[in-house]
């Protein structure tokens, strides 16, 4: 009994350290976003604001304020680019994964797919920049979505393939024997069973696209296409008097991925482990 109590105490204190380590930077970011500018430049710092000030959030969410326009446009661009790229990657990777899993496509080719993401983006950037330039696609969300799609595709294909492998082949064979087309089989038999995998792939792809900075930095040049990471980097390096605004931008930009991660979190585990155990 004494032993288990001791163990419980150990577990709880380890957990406490973990919670502090994980959450304190985030909580501080949120506190900063509602503290007054004077409190944020006090020495030593004021850890809790006198009055809680939400004005930065209302500014950022108001299209008519300068920072609001920047933020909301960037939010829109990020959503468009990340969602388009993620959907394209899913639509393209599912048939490819099926070919790898059921039609005997060579695994060497799959390794070739994966090899493309092992290369640092700096290896591709300059020719891509020239190609998009000659197609008049620089500074457009289309170019970014295409690049992101290619960036997400190998991993999505591999993840879907491993999950398809876990679905008994008899199911689709039976369907095919009844004369159904491959497309029908894929849609009606395989995909419903692979929903958790699709959710996991969607989530991981969306987060990766949302996070991407390097291509966006080089391919976008104005408000109409800049994504959030680039807008935030530009915004925070410029003339900002108030650290609280930076913090508020950070909080708002983390919300979409945080929500996606929270909603889909049980799927990553199932999706990824099916992938990694088999793959």
């Amino acid at each position: 009994m004494k032993n288990t109590n001791f163990k419980l105490f150990g577990l709880l204190s380890a957990s406490l350290i973990l919670v502090v380590f994980t959450l304190s930077p985030l909580i501080w970011l949120i506190i900063m976003s509602v503290s007054s500018a004077a409190e944020l430049t006090a020495k030593p710092l004021v850890w809790w604001p006198d009055t809680i000030d939400f004005s930065r959030y209302s500014d950022l969410l108001n299209m008519d304020s300068g920072s609001g326009e920047r933020f909301l446009m960037a939010l829109r661009n990020s959503l468009i680019t990340a969602i388009t790229a993620t959907l394209m990657a899913l639509i393209i990777s599912i048939p490819a994964a099926f070919a790898f899993s059921r039609r005997g496509a060579s695994l060497v080719l799959l390794f070739g797919f994966l090899a493309t993401i092992m290369m640092p983006p700096i290896t591709y950037i300059l020719p891509l920049y020239n190609i998009f330039g000659s197609l008049s696609l620089l500074n457009s969300s289309t170019a970014l979505a295409i690049v992101y799609c290619a960036m997400l595709l190998p991993f999505a294909t591999w993840l879907m393939k491993s999950n398809f492998d876990a679905i008994p082949a008899e199911l689709d064979q039976a369907s095919m024997l009844e004369g159904a087309s491959t497309f029908y089989t894929l849609r009606r038999v395989i995909l419903p069973l692979a929903l958790p995998a699709i959710a996991a792939t969607f989530m991981l792809s969306f987060l990766a696209a949302w996070d991407e900075f390097f291509y966006a930095l080089i391919f976008t040049s104005d408000l109409s296409t800049k994504t959030l990471p680039v807008a935030i980097a530009d915004f925070t390096a410029g003339r900002v008097t108030d650290y609280g605004v930076i913090a508020a931008v950070g909080v708002l930009a983390s919300l979409p991925p945080a929500i996606v991660a929270m909603c889909f979190q049980r799927f990553i585990v199932s999706g990824l482990t099916a992938g990694s155990v088999k793959g």
Binding site: S136, N139, S221, D234, A237, G238, R239, V240
Partner: protein
């Protein structure tokens, strides 16, 4: 007399009647020193009003991203920019690479003498002109009068040695922990501070085509910087600061001296931005006894038209408007005009007499940073080695000798 008055008016009428087809201009500006975003928005709004058919889309990036943005948008064809703001150190590189439109034939011939030479160098390379000067800027020495008087110092320093002496007094008397704050992060901002000090010490970066920053005044300048850090007079956080950090620390009343651009004058005296409003003095950066009276870096910037712009006439119209004497005089708080005459115009001088008189002295002694097509690389090499001296990693002789070697290896 009447003709003189009528002429500009008729020209204005001509300009406004020249209707442009519906075009949207993309313009690239920076969001740090000089004109604020609000100023630039107001100016372009006036321009749009006078020029129906043209609308201007503004893009603001930090100075640190400006160069790369101009380069990476060059291949963007008509999706790129029509007007870009660029720094005095880039025309050589941009002209060699064909990034900017040669506008020598567009610039009215009679402007030559009306605008300061230091401003013209911003847009000129090999006697061709690549835009119009817009920001005539240099780094001034700001000082906190209240702190000086608390320490019993009656006159602000007139040499860099006195800056150090007075800082020592301020520190010893406990008036302020770190009397000096600078923008010495590994960046162009540090090079600007360094150039000011090199000029003060009578040094030079190059002798002919040969790098010469490892001796004489250039060596003395970096030694001055390193000593001020070592003796605890300079805020040690300076080595990660940009201009905005300097402004924040100085506005917070945590430094007695700071070197910064024109724009800080208005903002540090604005009570909503600063705790030390009204207590601040501004003067040209001082000199070194027996060598120089004052020192300054040429930090001017110009407006140009990227060669891929499809709307060069409209872009030129906007540039002409933004660099117009009257327009500049209306927005003279954060950045002073490039026009000589403006410095005696009341609307410019009023309320900032001290700044304008400092400017008149500083503009006369402005020193350039090296004019070479590989400037960006020279600057990066210098930044790295100067920084290692400031951080006490290397001796100034060794580090600068390395830098010279590295600069000669540039391909």
């Amino acid at each position: 007399m009447i003709i003189k008055k009528l002429l500009p008016m008729s020209m204005l009428a001509l300009a406004t009647s020249m209707a442009f087809a519906d075009t949207e201009l993309n313009a690239l500006f920076m969001s740090q020193a000089a004109y604020s975003e609000a100023d630039i928005k107001a100016m372009t709004a006036e321009f749009e009003e006078n020029n129906p058919g043209i609308s201007v889309a503004l893009e603001f990036v930090p100075y640190e991203a400006l160069h790369d943005k101009i380069i990476t948008s060059a291949a963007a064809g008509t999706n790129g920019y029509d007007i870009v703001l660029y720094d005095v150190v880039w025309p050589a590189e941009f002209a060699e690479g064909g990034f900017l439109t040669d506008v020598t034939d567009r610039v009215p011939k009679d402007l030559g003498n009306q605008i300061f030479d230091g401003a013209w160098t911003t847009v000129t390379y090999n006697s061709r002109i690549f835009g119009m000067p817009w920001i005539l800027d240099t780094k001034y020495l700001f000082f906190n009068r209240e702190m000086l008087s608390q320490a019993g110092i009656e006159t602000p320093p007139s040499t860099w040695a006195e800056v150090m002496e007075q800082s020592q007094i301020l520190k010893d008397k406990g008036v302020v922990k770190y009397p000096l704050v600078w923008s010495w992060s590994q960046s162009e901002a540090m090079i600007c501070d360094y150039t000011t000090l090199v000029a003060a010490h009578g040094g030079s970066f190059f002798e002919g085509a040969k790098p010469a920053f490892n001796k004489d005044g250039a060596l003395a300048a970096i030694d001055y910087m390193a000593t001020s850090l070592k003796s605890g007079l300079t805020n040690p956080a300076s080595t990660e600061y940009f201009e905005e950090d300097v402004r924040r620390v100085f506005s917070n009343g945590e430094a007695a001296f700071a070197l910064n651009w024109t724009y800080m004058n208005a903002l540090v005296n604005d009570p909503s931005e600063s705790k030390v409003a009204g207590k601040i003095g501004v003067m040209p950066a001082p000199g070194v006894k027996g060598v120089s009276e004052a020192s300054a870096v040429n930090g001017s910037m110009g407006l140009g038209i990227p060669s891929n712009s499809a709307h060069k006439d409209e872009a030129w119209a906007l540039i002409s408007y933004l660099t117009d004497k009257k327009v500049q005089e209306n927005y003279a708080k954060l950045s002073l005009p490039v026009w000589k005459e403006s410095y005696s115009v009341k609307s410019v001088t009023e309320g900032q007499e001290e700044l304008v008189s400092a400017a008149s002295k500083a503009i006369a002694v402005m020193s350039p940073r090296p004019v070479v097509p590989a400037y960006t690389e020279v600057s990066n090499i210098l930044q790295k080695h100067l920084h290692s001296i400031l951080l006490g990693e290397e001796s100034s002789e060794d580090a600068l000798a390395d830098a010279v070697k590295r600069v000669s290896r540039i391909r």
